[in-house]
């Protein structure tokens, strides 16, 4: 589903050029559960932005389900993010003034889905992550783990083939973090491709494959036997 060929990303900071990715190549197949690991400054955030179609590579190719991402316009990228990718962030990134239902329905608004359908789907997605009782709570009224579940429900709402999670347990305690990882496993078993970016070995070990980055280069790509 994803082919990454010799990916480079250079930032122009004033007069200095900083290479965050210096040529990374790998493929990810449908239904994989991959962890991308590396210390801070390794380029894993940059890689995640490109994989999530939030950014374009400076050099190299990235094919997502056959689309050459570097050749698409901003609006086409927005459409791919909307339909094919579900994001889960470390900071949750929920809109504070809206309740869970309204946060979850946002991606459907940008697909021009009817209001009644949106709310129905949002409710189903929240039930899928075990939040059927928290539909009308605002982010400030629920716990960290529940916030992350709302975010996962939002990522699921368009039934994307790829779920991209950037340090999804970074702001959670271990127990809650494990619960969140469990949800990812369930989703993986239901056929979603999952990519988790993390710097924690604990988390990475729960994936089936770990890609390691250091200083903008890939330094490891190993398949771990089985998931939890």
């Amino acid at each position: 589903m994803m082919q990454i060929e010799n990916l480079e990303r250079v930032y122009h900071l004033g007069k200095a050029n900083v290479a965050a990715l210096k040529g990374v190549s790998f493929n990810i197949e449908d239904g994989e559960f991959v962890a991308i690991m590396g210390p801070s400054g390794s380029g894993k955030s940059t890689l995640m932005h490109i994989l999530g179609c939030l950014d374009r590579p400076t050099q190299g190719r990235y094919y997502l389900e056959g689309h050459d991402i570097s050749k698409l316009s901003d609006n086409q990228l927005a459409e791919i993010r909307n339909k094919n990718i579900g994001f889960v962030f470390q900071q949750f990134n929920l809109l504070p003034r809206m309740n869970s239902l309204h946060n979850v329905e946002i991606p459907l608004i940008y697909r021009h889905t009817r209001r009644s359908t949106r709310l129905e789907k949002a409710k189903k997605a929240l039930e899928r992550v075990g939040l059927g009782e928290r539909l009308h709570h605002k982010p400030s009224e629920v716990s960290g783990g529940e916030k992350q579940r709302v975010a996962i429900a939002r990522a699921l709402i368009n039934d994307p083939s790829l779920i991209l999670a950037d340090e999804p347990t970074g702001n959670l305690d271990t127990r809650t973090g494990n619960e969140i990882m469990k949800i990812f496993h369930n989703l993986n078993q239901q056929g979603h491709t999952i990519i988790v970016v993390t710097h924690e070995n604990e988390i990475a070990r729960q994936a089936r494959r770990v890609i390691r980055l250091r200083d903008g280069l890939m330094v490891g790509d190993e398949v771990i036997g089985s998931a939890v």
């Binding site: 901003d74 990134n93 946002i106 940008y110």
Partner: protein, 403 residues
């Protein structure tokens, strides 16, 4: 989608109520000023126009002298030319003139028992009543018979009658008139209705005697104060003025020897003055709308910066540039049109208060409301465009990492 953007706009405006209000203030004041100024302008204009129309119907004043005669003496020739016969010539040669009467006047003093009252005495003809739309409230006005026999009768203005008779019924009473070093005994045959004063003088303190009585028994000269003419209709007023002007310029051989003043001309002047005033005040109101627009732009820029992260999230979730653009444009438009609505209500209220103090009718034209609201929408659109554009073109990665 539009409805969603509208809902988002409302909720973000609600989240900062004081800020929302303050940023709308410029628009509120601007729109309020436009509505009240236009309303006050047209109310006052209607009032003055009504006063002038009340002076009579399609009245044209023709006076001796003119531009050069500013406080100076009339030349003997000009004064001599203004004779009752001239009125007849004008009438014959100006088809658009329905009535024309000579008018002659001087001040005199009435005595009745021990009351002595000063008044302006006007020698005139029956048509005066029709030209000025001015009717007696008791008795009658001067008639053709009075004119033919030069009878010694007088018709009093309402206030003059009260001053002389103090509650007594004036009809049939005889009063002594001292005027031009002569003394006459006149019988009161009528009292005119209340007319009130205006910038042309006060009808209520004048007394009216037959033109022939005046010329035969009061003044030996035939010097006319002015001619009072009436056009056949309002539509013919301009033609009547042109015809009189043409005749007089030929007959008196010099345009400076006479002056023609029609109601139409007075109205034109008033319209011009109010128009100029309206344009000036409208300009001021426009500037305050502009300032209001800048206020909106300022607050929208703040709002865009504050919500950088929200913009990043929305973009990550699939919002296209147009979606973000719409959201912030609609917010700016909501802000400005809300300000416009509040301003309209306040302006209306202001106009109402001033109209009730000024004693004229409240006139709020739908046109001025539409103009003010439309303009405030335009201001919102114009000044919302740049902040919305800025929001729409944010880089999603940078926006997402904004703290």
């Amino acid at each position: 989608m539009l409805f969603e953007s509208f809902k988002i706009a409302i909720s973000s405006l609600q989240a900062n109520k004081l800020r929302t209000f303050l940023s709308m203030l410029g628009i509120i004041i601007g729109v309020g000023a436009v509505i009240s100024i236009v309303s006050i302008g047209s109310g006052a204009q209607m009032e003055v126009t009504g006063q002038i129309a009340g002076l009579g119907s399609n009245v044209i004043n023709i006076m001796p002298g003119g531009a050069r005669m500013t406080g100076g003496q009339l030349t003997a020739r000009t004064a001599d030319n203004f004779t009752p016969e001239l009125a007849d010539y004008i009438h014959m040669l100006s088809p658009s003139v329905q009535n024309i009467i000579p008018q002659i006047q001087d001040s005199g003093a009435f005595t009745y028992r021990d009351v002595r009252v000063q008044a302006t005495i006007i020698g005139t003809k029956p048509a005066f009543q029709e030209i000025n739309l001015y009717n007696p409230s008791a008795g009658r006005f001067i008639n053709q018979g009075d004119l033919e026999t030069a009878s010694q009768v007088v018709v009093l203005g309402s206030r003059l009658a009260r001053n002389i008779f103090d509650g007594e019924d004036p009809l049939g009473k005889r009063v002594r008139l001292e005027i031009n070093r002569r003394v006459l005994l006149l019988t009161v045959v009528g009292v005119m209705e209340e007319r009130g004063g205006n910038f042309m003088g006060n009808f209520d303190t004048q007394a009216y005697v037959p033109f022939s009585t005046y010329t035969q028994k009061i003044s030996s000269t035939q010097n006319i104060s002015q001619f009072l003419a009436q056009a056949r209709s309002a539509d013919e007023s301009r033609e009547a003025v042109a015809q009189i002007d043409y005749f007089l310029s030929t007959y008196l051989e010099d345009e400076d020897n006479y002056m023609i003043l029609s109601q139409e001309q007075i109205l034109d002047v008033i319209h011009q003055v109010t128009r100029t005033l309206n344009i000036m005040l409208g300009g001021i109101a426009g500037i305050s709308l502009l300032v209001g627009g800048i206020g909106i732009m300022n607050i929208m820029l703040v709002s865009v910066t504050e919500r950088t992260r929200e913009i990043g999230i929305r973009k990550a979730l699939g919002a296209k540039k147009a979606h973000i653009m719409n959201q912030f444009l609609i917010e700016a438009l909501t802000l400005s049109s809300l300000g416009g609505l509040v301003g309209t209500l306040l302006g209306w209220l202001g106009a109402f208060v001033i109209a009730s103090f000024g004693g004229w009718a409240l006139v709020v034209s739908p046109g001025s409301v539409a103009l003010a609201l439309g303009f405030s929408l335009l201001v919102g659109l114009f000044f919302g465009l740049y902040p919305a554009y800025k929001a729409a073109n944010m880089d999603p990665v940078i926006a997402l990492s904004y703290e």
